[in-house]
């Protein structure tokens, strides 16, 4: 500590070769800000908390600011004084300036408006917007040409707006000069802020009012105490200046010549204000400024990568598969219940369905058989005709009116809709919310965050399920009907044979009977005059044949509700499961793909940041080779001391 702060230690010379490093860095940073902002603005599935969002926006802002500030010939170094009220920040600045440019007094808090102290050659437009609104004071000291010194409001007084002002200014700082006094060097508010900021910027420390520390009393001296604390925080060899700014200011007020005022009398032992001034004026050369800036950018990038890693969405592809398999089971169960309910609502209409199937089945018959069947069916289902007169006006008219040409037109329309409506009102509508909750809870149990699934699942639940059910019922009925009317295998054979017989035998029987009667009448002599019974045989024999065939048909190819119901239930179950699966099963996969995409975006962001950081580190390495030729890069000591290169000392 002591040896590195001796006033005559060789500081880097002013005429170092200009490094294009920073100007090249600017476009790289801009290239990083763009995707970051775009990523922030995009709608994403994986949510960011308010805090995370604010943090990221802050980082983006910092990057933006850095890229703008670096893109100039001579980048400005912002040194910011930070500390509690009354520690002497303003006095320190006044002493540095050699005159009262910042208000200093015993009333606390004194400084309410920050003071910005900068070289007159710097146009105020070049200052950061946050600084432009402060009180601007210009100077003409060549040593401070590229430096902007900012006096900030306090961080611990009762005036809380002061703290907010400080927090708003801090992002601008490259180097923070942490000012403490004998009373306050240990204060929690300042220390917390330091710990929060230390990974972002360079820190140097000032222990002002040094005269109050040198009391001759026993015990740990404040500077040793502070150094020990800093060591515990990882600052092996921090820059610490012990100052008594008030005395220097008093001396400067008296002094009227040009240049730095002389050393005031009565300085306490170990006072280091002149060292601080030297460090600011000479120690921070252009090269060092660039190194500090580069280091600042490096820290920012590290911060960004680290933070981006914490917000990287998880990989959910395995979970999505698990969720999908669980959901399949749940949805199948749900489809079963829904099918049961729908079939249950169809129950009252069983005669209609049966009738319809009979009629449908009979359409393949022709001639006498068809006529016979039409009559019997009408008799058998007379009840449903009667019923039409009572409820459900036109519905059954269509059902029983015999317009049964195509199965599609039979298409129940209103009838099935009526069923689905009843089922929906009674049972199904309430089940859909319950189903979504079930699915979400199961998803969470399999490790898929509930919040990610909620929206898409709710959307799927909001689909028009009634319409889908209606369609399912109609399709299932049509399918059952198709199976009934176009059987396969053995049934098909029987059916073909029966149809053939039913379409031919009655006519053959009729022709044969009539033929026999005619033969008997004309051919034999004497002609057999048919009596009433024989005449009636013309009708009776075909009728007997028809009835026999009808019984055969009923026996071999029955059209009964329980059979239809069984088939229908099976078909409906399959169809509803398909509908539900279609709506829900894709969700986990889609969400996990979207999340995966977001994950890749974050990864690419991290990769880009790393690339820039690596490039920067490489260039810094090169710059450190230049150091071997007699230039010191002091900033390392107070930036990232855990870094092995940083603690090498001098």
């Amino acid at each position: 500590m002591s040896e590195m702060n001796t006033p005559d230690a060789p500081f880097a010379t002013e005429d170092a070769a200009p490094q294009p490093l920073l100007r090249t860095l600017a476009p790289l940073l801009r290239g990083l800000v763009r995707p970051l902002r775009a990523w922030l603005e995009n709608r994403r599935k994986f949510p960011l908390s308010m805090m995370q969002r604010a943090e990221l926006e802050g980082l983006a802002e910092d990057l933006q600011r850095q890229s703008e500030m670096l893109d100039v010939e001579k980048p400005l170094l912002v040194v910011m004084l930070m500390g509690g009220t009354g520690v002497g920040k303003s006095t320190l600045l006044n002493a540095l300036a050699g005159g009262p440019i910042a208000q200093a007094s015993f009333t606390r808090p004194t400084t309410r408006d920050p003071v910005v102290y900068f070289h007159h050659s710097v146009k105020s437009e070049r200052l950061d917007p946050a600084l432009r609104v402060c009180r601007l004071v210009q100077h003409d000291r060549a040593g401070l040409e590229q430096k902007v010194i900012v006096d900030t409001p306090d961080l611990d007084s009762n005036d809380l707006t002061n703290r907010d002002k400080l927090i708003a200014l801090l992002p601008v700082a490259d180097i923070v000069l942490y000012v403490g006094s004998q009373e306050k060097y240990h204060d929690r508010l300042g220390w917390d802020l330091f710990k929060e900021q230390r990974h972002r910027r360079a820190f140097a420390f000032v222990l002002n009012k040094w005269d109050r520390c040198v009391t001759g009393e026993s015990g740990v001296q404040p500077d040793e105490d502070l150094l020990a604390d800093l060591k515990a925080e990882g600052f092996q060899n921090p820059l610490l200046f012990r100052t008594t700014a008030q005395l220097w200011l008093d001396a400067a007020n008296v002094y009227s010549g040009s240049g730095n005022p002389p050393k005031p009398a009565g300085l306490p032992a170990g006072e280091q204000f002149s060292l601080l001034r030297n460090w600011l004026e000479l120690g921070l050369t252009r090269l060092e400024i660039e190194a500090v800036k580069a280091r600042g950018v490096g820290q920012l990038l590290t911060q960004l990568t680290r933070f981006a890693e914490t917000i990287r969405p998880p990989d959910l592809s395995v979970e999505s598969e698990k969720v999908k398999s669980v959901w399949e089971r749940t949805l199948a169960e749900e489809a079963d219940v829904q099918a049961d309910v729908l079939v249950g609502t169809l129950e009252p209409y069983q005669t209609e369905v049966e009738h319809h199937f009979s009629v449908e089945d009979q359409s393949r018959f022709r001639g006498l058989m068809a006529a016979y069947l039409r009559v019997t069916t009408r008799l058998r289902y007379a009840g449903s005709g009667l019923r039409d007169k009572i409820p459900f006006g036109g519905l059954k008219g269509r059902l029983l009116g015999g317009r049964v040409d195509t199965p599609v037109e039979w298409n129940l329309g209103a009838f099935v809709q009526e069923c689905a409506r009843t089922a929906g009102e009674r049972v199904l509508d309430q089940r859909s919310t319950a189903l979504i909750n079930r699915l979400l809870v199961e998803g969470e149990a399999k490790g898929f965050p509930l919040t990610l699934l909620t929206d898409p699942a709710t959307c799927a639940g909001r689909l028009d399920w009634r319409e889908r059910m209606t369609r399912g019922v109609i399709e299932a009925l049509a399918e059952v009907e198709r199976q009934a009317t176009n059987p396969t295998g053995f049934r098909r054979l029987i059916r073909g044979a029966l149809s053939l017989m039913a379409n031919t035998l009655p006519e053959i029987a009729l022709v044969a009977t009539v033929g026999t009667l005619l033969w008997n009448f004309f051919v034999p002599t004497p002609p057999v005059i048919p009596d009433f019974f024989q005449m009636s045989l013309v009708v009776l024999i075909p009728l007997i044949v028809i009835v026999a065939l009808h019984l055969l048909i009923l026996l071999l190819l029955p059209v009964r509700w329980p059979a239809i119901r069984y088939q229908f239930r099976k078909q409906l179950g399959v169809r509803l499961a398909a509908e539900l699966g279609h709506a829900y099963l894709a969700i986990p996969g889609e969400v996990s793909t979207a999340i995966q995409e977001e994950r890749e975006q974050v990864d690419s962001l991290i990769a880009e940041a790393k690339q820039v950081a690596d490039w920067l580190a490489e260039r810094q390495q090169a710059a450190q080779v230049a150091e071997l030729y007699g230039k010191s890069s002091r900033d390392q000591e107070f930036t990232l001391p855990r870094d092995s290169t940083a603690s090498r000392g001098i």
Binding site: N158, E183, H186, P222, A434, L440
Partner: protein
């Protein structure tokens, strides 16, 4: 009231307040309340408890507080009149409170149970480490060469040197500071020229004023020429914004300026530093007229502070209670859906076919008994053609019922839906570590869900027994209403029989001689029977309707309401922090009220016999 009873009541209250404080500390947005509660619990332990137990008023306690490096130890030395406290340039050097007893044979050191709460008296010379919760007790040495008789000006006082509350290490020991501050009768608040407008110490000062402590401010380290304007500025900036005292008055706080002392002044408090010392001593002594009055004021104000703090207790739990209310609302919404589903999915389609049995029995009852059976048989035979026709037509026209899901399926489905809604809600709201929803979400699968299902299964068994009984009873009542009432029964039977006879008689009489028109007899008899059947059907339908509506209330009463009540209370049972919170919130306000009443009584008792003017609080010193 026995002292032990006082002690347990005070201990309970202090523990409850401590628990609430911990509860607040776990929630970042309530951290501000934690200080209030800490002070409240310390006041209960150290001020109210000993007072009610009848501990002596002596000694009084002076406590020197302030930010790090403000000069507390220097002020302590001024008060003690000797270099007793180690002034040290290291900020936050003092980490344990130290009590300085006046020189000479003094009073007994208070040693009742619960004194200083978690802090122990230090037995060794130095604390083992900075984290040890101890306080030290030292005696101010008798000044050399002083007269034995010349008493120390603060002979009745214990002077406490306290740790600071501003350094980053103070979080670990601010509790010790609170304990001592609560104990003391006079507080010396030390503020340096750097510190006096700092937020943290000012907040602490506000807390002390709210607790009704007598405060003397010592402003330190300013340049002597600035002293007056400094005091004025301090009065305006800080004292002008003080909160009101517990009794509603604006606090009058005397201010003493102690400029930056030279080393020699500091080294000799009774000599070179005496002008500041006397000023300070005067201000302190003026606040303490007599032991008893001062103590009475401290206790009264402490009790008042407790009752105001007690009013704010609900604020502390506001968030938790709001979350609990949300949970209850979610449970009740779930209950409504549950009942709705039962109504729609089961009840709306249920026909209670078992009830038809009773309707048939009712119809049978109208038939004649005994020998009348023969007549009944004849009528039955006469009605046969009509009956056949009617049954055939009815079979054609009537539709089968909608097939219902079974009651058990519906109920279980609805329960699953209910629990799922709650779980999804809990997972969705799963916020901070402490929140109720988080605790519920974590314990849902393992505890809540199986427990709820168990309870439901039990309730369901009871419900099924009840509902079946209910149906039987309703049917029985229907039948019994007629069967057990012979007058009505015979009137109905007789009426029907007479009606039949009248019909037959009329037909025979009007269509005589007998011909085809006699067929009107079976027709008429059928009509009368049909009328009777329709009547019984109407009566039975009424009863069925009653069963249906009763079933709904049965489900509500024996299934959904008990379960909802259990679910709503679940988060605050089973030894959770919410259960404790509820207990504490119930207990604390009452305890505070009782304590205040007792303190009032005791203070009145203590001040009365003296016949002296009872200024409570004692008149404040002019500033």
């Amino acid at each position: 009231m026995q002292p032990t009873e006082h002690r347990s009541a005070v201990g309970q209250l202090a523990d409850d307040l401590r628990w609430l404080e911990d509860h607040c500390r776990r929630q970042p947005d309530l951290a501000a309340e934690a200080g209030t509660l800490r002070l409240a619990s310390a006041l209960t332990r150290n001020v109210i408890g000993p007072f009610l137990e009848g501990q002596p008023s002596r000694p009084l306690h002076i406590c020197v507080v302030g930010g790090a490096g403000a000069g507390k130890s220097t002020v302590v030395n001024l008060l003690a009149g000797d270099i007793v406290a180690e002034a040290n340039p290291q900020a936050g050097f003092t980490r344990h409170p130290t009590a300085f007893l006046p020189p000479g044979p003094g009073f007994q050191w208070p040693s009742y149970i619960g004194f200083m709460g978690p802090l122990n008296r230090l037995t060794s010379d130095k604390p083992a480490n900075v984290d040890e919760n101890v306080y030290a007790v030292k005696r101010i040495p008798v000044p050399s060469g002083a007269n034995e008789k010349s008493a120390h000006p603060l002979g009745e006082f214990v002077i406490w040197d306290c740790p600071d509350m501003t350094t980053w290490a103070s979080e670990g020991y601010v509790a010790r500071l609170m304990e001592v501050a609560a104990l003391s009768d006079v507080i010396v608040y030390v503020a340096s020229d750097e510190r006096y407008n700092d937020a943290v110490p000012t907040e602490f000062l506000h807390l002390l004023v709210k607790a009704g402590k007598a405060v003397v401010v010592a402003l330190t380290k300013m340049r002597p020429q600035d002293a007056d304007s400094f005091i004025a500025h301090f009065k305006q900036e800080i004292l002008g914004r003080l909160p009101k005292l517990p009794n509603g008055e604006t606090p009058a706080v005397p201010v003493v300026a102690i400029p930056h002392l030279s080393v020699s002044e500091r080294a000799d408090p009774t000599g070179a530093g005496s002008k500041y010392r006397i000023q300070l001593l005067n201000q302190i002594l003026v606040q303490c007229e007599s032991d008893d009055l001062t103590r009475a004021r401290t206790v009264t104000n402490a009790a008042k502070y407790l009752s105001t703090a007690g009013d704010g207790l609900l604020d502390v739990a506001r968030k938790d209670l709001a979350e609990l209310d949300e949970w209850k609302a979610a449970v009740n919404a779930g209950r409504a859906v549950f009942e709705d589903r039962y109504r729609h999915e089961y009840l709306s389609g249920e026909q209670f076919r078992r009830f038809d049995r009773f309707r048939e029995r009712l119809t049978d009852l109208l038939e004649l008994p005994g020998a009348g059976r023969v007549v009944g048989g004849i009528f039955w035979a006469l009605r046969s053609p009509y009956r056949w026709t009617r049954d055939y037509v009815f079979g054609l026209v009537a539709r089968p019922d909608v097939l219902n899901l079974s009651e058990q399926t519906v109920l279980n489905g609805a329960l699953t839906g209910w629990l799922d809604t709650l779980q999804a809600e809990a997972l969705r709201k799963d916020g901070t570590q402490q929140s109720l929803w988080r605790q519920i979400a974590v314990r849902f699968d393992a505890e809540l869900s199986p427990q709820a299902r168990d309870r439901f299964a039990n309730d369901l068994r009871a419900f099924e027994l009840k509902q079946s009984e209910d149906l039987e009873q309703a049917g029985k009542a229907l039948v019994d209403g007629v069967e057990k009432n012979p007058a009505l029964l015979y009137t109905l039977r007789g009426g029907k029989f007479v009606l039949d006879l009248v019909i037959i008689g009329n037909v025979v009489y009007f269509t005589w001689p007998p011909g085809w028109l006699l067929l009107l007899i079976p027709f008429g008899v059928s009509a009368s029977h049909q009328f009777a059947e329709l009547t019984t059907r109407a009566v039975a339908e009424g009863a069925r309707h009653r069963v249906r509506s009763h079933r709904e209330s049965l489900v509500t009463g024996s299934l959904s309401v008990p379960l909802a009540a259990w679910l709503a209370e679940w988060p605050i049972t089973g030894g959770t922090s919410f259960e404790k919170l509820q207990q504490v919130l119930r207990r604390v306000p009452d305890a505070i009220r009782t304590m205040e009443v007792r303190v009032k009584a005791k203070v009145a008792e203590m001040t009365k016999p003296k016949e002296a003017p009872p200024p409570i609080p004692a008149p404040e010193a002019p500033t």
